[in-house]
Symmetry: C2
Subunit: 146 residues, 2 copies
């Protein structure tokens, strides 16, 4: 499901970010890529398949390094542990289910990033606008209706 080239790409991106290329980093990158929004535990269980023996602490280290490097994005919705996703650089937003905490992406609401600018910002120099929508996901709507 993932090619030789994928791994080379990942290695190149790590190097470009000034990070050493290591097995745990490749494994984490692969675990998160295209798999939605994962917390550290979920990343660990995916990583463990490819690289048994990896510690949770390493997963935290790697997730932190990759996030700082801009290769992953971290979101922290209320009531959830930190979640990581591979879609970076486009300032998209999120919908979170108030019942089961499922998360989905939402494209930028008002044109280009940063999407929104407050009129009065209390003297803050703003660089990011983060939008979180809250609602019921399709599954939970169904369960509550049924």
């Amino acid at each position: 499901m993932h090619t030789e080239t994928d791994r080379d790409d990942a290695a190149a991106r790590l190097r470009a970010a000034g990070l050493k290329v290591t097995a745990p980093r490749l494994a984490v990158l692969d675990a998160v890529s295209g798999h939605g929004h994962l917390d550290a535990e979920a990343v660990l269980s995916r990583v463990t398949v490819a690289l048994p023996g990896t510690s949770l602490q390493s997963v935290y280290n790697v997730l932190g390094a990759l996030t700082d490097a801009g290769l992953l994005r971290r979101i922290e919705p209320a009531e959830s542990p930190a979640l990581y996703e591979s879609r970076t650089g486009d300032n998209h937003h999120h919908v979170v289910c108030t019942r089961c905490h499922a998360v989905a992406d939402v494209d930028c609401v008002v044109g280009e990033p940063p999407c929104l600018a407050p009129s009065d910002a209390a003297g803050f120099a703003i660089h990011t606008a983060e939008v979180t929508f809250w609602g019921l996901c399709a599954d939970c709507q169904r369960e509550l209706a049924g």
Copy 2:
């Protein structure tokens, strides 16, 4: 700084919410009202002045009850513990300082609440849009410039 009437109002609002009127609840309400965005520890230290011996656990209980009742609003910005404010019901937003975590209010950006509606919401039935701006507060701008 707070009148007899303030306390009566607070008691009335508690009763209206179906909650018993107790000293810790009045003290917490008073501690949070008009004092920005406080975490549980900060609430405790303010409460302790008026009501020594109050436990942190009680502060958590009270903050939870008051939030559920809609008398307080809870926000949970990334990297900060939960913060409580007395301004409820107007769906205003927040700016958070990326350096010192100071928080300020921002009025609703695009007209009336809920302010925003995503075009595609991945099947979610959305009821709230939460906006968090990130930037440098005035103090931190000054310190970095100086």
